[in-house]
Amino acid sequence: MTDTAGVAGQESRSTDFSDDEVIIGLEIHCQLDTRTKLFCGCSTDYRDDRPNSHVCPVCLGLPGSLPRVNKKAIEFALRVGKALNCTVPDESEFARKNYFYPDLNKGFQITQYDKPLAVKGYLDIEGEEGEKRIRITRVHVEEDPGRLVHKGGADRAKYTLVDYNRAGIPLIEIVTEPDLRSPKEARRFLNKLRATLEYLGVFDSEKEGSLRVDANISIQPKGWFGREGRGKGDRGRAEVKNISSYKGVEKALTFEVTRQKNALRRGQRLETETRHFVETRGITTSSRSKEMEQDYRYFPEPDLLPLRVCDLAAGIVLPELPDARRARFLSEYGCSPIHARTLTGDLRLAEFYEQVAGSDPIPAATWVADTLLGELNYRDMTVSRVSPVWFRDLILLVKEGSVTDKGGVEVLRSLLDQLRESGSCETPDQCVRRLGLKVLERTGGAGEEQDPVTKASREAVAEHPQAVADFHAGRKEAFNFLVGQVMKKTRGRAKPADVNQILLGILGEED
């Protein structure tokens, strides 16, 4: 502490940080899911193919080649602009961002600068305190550069290979105002944005590398952000570059909040700087700021004409978006608000649910939003692997009473494991039979003594005299314990109602 004594006075004024707030703005880059690249006819479906097999003179940036705009990409970007409630200016323009890098085929990237495709929109999210509006500064279109491959790892590789398959894939950049106030809010914003983009049919979040985020974060005294001339007293911010996953964004920002708070508490000055997120370690590290300070020398792309796309934008009819679908799930299926939010938060999940909702939508919602989603997450699988046909059959088996809830979960787990291992699975019916999970039908009358539930119940009673005594002493838990024992003996196949009835009967006999 001695070395900070000089700023002690200042420190005492600023040691109370309870009035601070976290200020976050995001820049999100998403690959648009078009069939061909942004400026040429090469296919965008490159992920399983050889390096440099989806290239042509244009996306290799060969001398003399010229870009031509993929109308579909512009239409996709306009859909996004519209869904984010943006204004589409009369004229927008492509610009060149000039810098040298081995993955950059032309020595410049074609992007948009001072005349973006769409501006001034918003997206409503579920904030920390109810619904919250996050303002969108701009949406613009640009080309993805190529990709560097360091054989044997970035540090040890003797040389670097360049793969231009990715060069020219259309990207949109979405920039928010600094309206987010916590890492969790940032995550929620991203989830909502992803859902929106998927509903629009312009984005496939399952494709590797389809999303990259830069996050600006600072901690400022409350109210500082909205103030006039707020440049004064700015505590500096960090721009965390190139985060490539949704979880990564929350992690990186959480790390930054802690780092910045600690620094402020120690009375350190935070400089505005660029930081790099190290995904494997969950931390951010400072990039040498000099190296990052680039003058991109933007100027209008002379090979492309200005875009006048107001009419194109006006003609776009948006599909049902997450908020509308959530409202419909509440009214049409009677889902709980939490289920409705979960189910509509992912396009595939929402569509899956609608396919299995059937005549019994409320239990189906529980099955999908709670059980299935949990099991999928546990296995790191997505809902697209699951067939709604067999899932519907499974719910039906449970509903009919052929399998208990517990048995149903066991079947689900088995089927998901099979899918993960081999890509295919049995039918639920086959699985029920193989695992012997079919509910034990009670055989009444003469055969009663052979009835397995009755047998199991008698065994349970015989094996646990103390519990029986406790039951007679009026302790409810003792009965539940005995039910549990019967269930264990029947491996969950007994119907709870049967067990209750039979156990009560047996215990009554003893009176």
Binding site: S65, P67, R68, F100, K106, G107, T160, R297, F299
Partner: protein, 432 residues
Amino acid sequence: MATISFSQKDGHNAFIPTLSEADTGPGALSGIPLAGQDNISTRGLPTTCGSRILEGYVPPYDAHVVTLLKKAGAAIVGKTNMDEFGMGTTTENSAFGPTKNPADPSRVPGGSSGGSAAAVASGMVRMALGTDTGGSIRCPAAFCGIVGHKPTYGRVSRYGLIAYANSLEQIGPMARSVSDISLLMEVLSGYDPRDSTSINCPYSHIPDPEIRGLKIGVPEEYFGEGVDAKVASVVWDGITLLERKGAEVITCRIPSMVYALAAYYVTCTSEASSNLARFDGVRYGPPADPKLPWHDAFQQQRRHGFGIEVKRRIMLGTFALSSGYYGKYYAKAQAARQQVRNDFLRLFRTFDVIAGPTMPTVAFRLGEKTDPLSMYLSDILTVPANLAGIPAISVPCGTSDGLPVGLQIMGPHFKDERVIDVAYAFEQGVSR
């Protein structure tokens, strides 16, 4: 497919590579030996832009105009020498040595398309392609005594033309007669979806020498300071000939001419600084040294690969686009460019064409122009047409001290036919 053999002696260093045999086919240009220029991509044939940095580069595709020429049956017999990447007015800035002027081998042929002009003027080929960013077709045409036409911007596809300054340059025809210019225009022009600045305006025209009643504007600036008096006098004689053929000649002014050269050099160097960034040794040309860190390898590649004039222009353009200077230079240049365009639009409400000298002087002696600024100044009469995007032709109109002089005729956008008609009328008037 038939072939023609080509065994002409290249005494003026007009060509970089030549073919001893070239394919030809049926069509409007069947059997005609024709020279491509070394900045226009040809599949399987080296294309270097006169630069060491592209040494050994063989494009895997044909430029649109090359496809059109092949379709028309032309026999492309080689690629002509040029100022490196089109940057120059003399064809001395070539990594493959200077081209000499067939009219006087101690003189430059002009540039940057000096190789094409020399190949045509010396009779090696009947016609050639040139590219014109600030006068690069018209200057060598004037200096060598042939015809050269810069089409309206957008009329000929730039796809496959290795860019120097995209917003200014056009590929155009060079030949000994206006009829051949017209014939070649018919093949070259037309819409190409691969060039977004291409315009659907095909050229289908037979030159008509009738110019009675045509209004010709002659800007005072084209006969002002810096224009050689003898050249001015030869060109005035030419304009008088047009007047005798029934045209009405009236002097006029282009006030924005004072900004034209600055606007041109800021724009073309800015675009060039970006266009030439791709020559880093990663994908083509001589490979960058893989043992160096990429940053150093790129620097080394570009330091050794580019000539001095190219490096000068890259530096100028990089500066003009830099943050803090963009507004002072690039943005201002665009405003000035708009004024030049407006001046022409205004003049073309009164005049059908504008006429004047192509170049302020006759061809320089080899090695004469050592200071870049005086070289840049010699482009003053050709750059306005590029800034405005209008068609402009240079047609031989006599000699001064035994050296060719060119008459320049400029017309409104998409009136290439009109400037070609006026040039044709002049050519016919002279020959009669």
